[in-house]
Amino acid sequence: MSHNIYLDYCATTPVHPSVRDAMRAALDETFGNPSSMHSAGRRAVELVDQARAEAAVSIGCNAEEIYFTSGATEADNLALLGVMRQRSSGQAHLITTATEHHAILHSAAQLEREGYAVTVLPVDGKGLVDPLAVREAIRADTVLISVMLVNNETGTIQPVAEIGALAHERGILMHTDAVQGLGLLDVSVRTLNVDLLSLSGHKIYGPKGIGALYVREGVSVKPLAFGGPQERSLRPGTENVPGIVGLAAALRFTGDHKPSERSRLRALREYLIGGLKARIPGVLINGPAEQVAPHVISFSVPGVDGEMMLLRLSSEGIAVSLGSACNSKSIEPSHVLTAMGLPPEQIGRSLRVSLGYPTTQSELDQFLSIVPEVVEHVLSVEQSTPQ
């Protein structure tokens, strides 16, 4: 029996009908290039401006501080490379953490290759970075601190506001990747004490291929690409008007539903954890019990291969995600769970379940009814065949 249950909302979310309708209208009725001077172009500009204003309201900034990008990966790259490259290599220092998204970690690695100094701070067993460790890592040449708001693998909520405050005490810029928090947490650039913030459309029931970077007025960022005046030359190229409209619609939709969904999903998360503990002896929940987003659960089942569990669940029509990734050379353990100090066996047996607005208790009941069978089967295979 195929259940068709999607529990991988951290990977991506379905486009909400209200977003689709807004985008369809933009596609059908406003195809003009915003750079054109005629009326079709002006209508497109109006849509982009309106979307920019809505995006700004959703995170508590001014419209002029929003720069649309192709997604959060580009926004993260733009934030880190664009800020750091304002200084010469060898004269600027970046602080980030070991559990950031690869969009941050790989950008930081690129900066290191270019000669910039980078400090990647460790996290504790819950995935939390210690603000005191951030304070101690600050140097005279520290330019930027980047700490994600919500971890995409464990749901850990980092103390961004506290770190932002100490960054500002020292005249250092603060960036956060808010992608996984935006759909459920109250995100305000003022409250979070951030100067730059990355967001993505497809994690909040919007389309793929659109995101944005908030850049506080007065902060200088060097562009990564060249060729036009769009987005005030920081992100040149003809605007993705339907995507931008979709992003604004998604922000509007999530903004309207955040408070109720936050409490509903938090209850469902507790329900799921309780169900897992009741049905699977020894199940381990990876990540913190508190200071955690309401929609992410990472767990490991001792002795049970994570990939095999995922494939068995997938064959039953249930979509979850893995804590480790296998590539052509080896199994790569999750860098997040590794940084949290989890043993490799536990990491290889980890699965991530992420809940979304469409998730129902009935779906979780079906998931919980199937998981013990899957665990039992994988265990039986592991125990019955020689290693």
Binding site: L311, C326, N327, V381, T385, Q387
Partner: protein
């Protein structure tokens, strides 16, 4: 054509599964026990593998009862193609059951 059929089962690591299969095929030929080594990805299709004399699993997909032939877990080959204990286990099994 080789009469002894081996199926290597893999998951998402499709490239690695092919590399393991090719490596084992070369190794078994060098040892004088040439085999027909095929692959079966349960990530692409969660179905039972083709009829085989021996199934080698990179992940714990099936029991011997389910597929009706001997099964050896070869997960260590994901990280090390020449993992000695795992290679020995495969060679011993093939040599003991190879048709003469």
């Amino acid at each position: 054509m080789e009469k002894y059929r081996i199926c290597v089962i893999g998951g998402w690591c499709g490239n690695r599964m092919v590399m393991v299969a090719e490596h084992l095929q070369d190794l078994l030929k060098d040892k004088g026990t040439p085999c027909r080594v095929i692959t079966h990805s349960v990530w692409e299709s969660y179905t039972r593998p083709p009829a085989s004399d021996l199934v080698l699993q990179l992940l714990p997909a099936f029991t011997e009862n389910e597929i009706g032939c001997p099964v050896i877990n070869i997960k260590p080959l994901l990280a090390d193609l020449d993992h000695p204990a795992t290679i020995n286990k495969v060679l011993q099994h093939v040599q003991a059951s190879y048709p003469v």
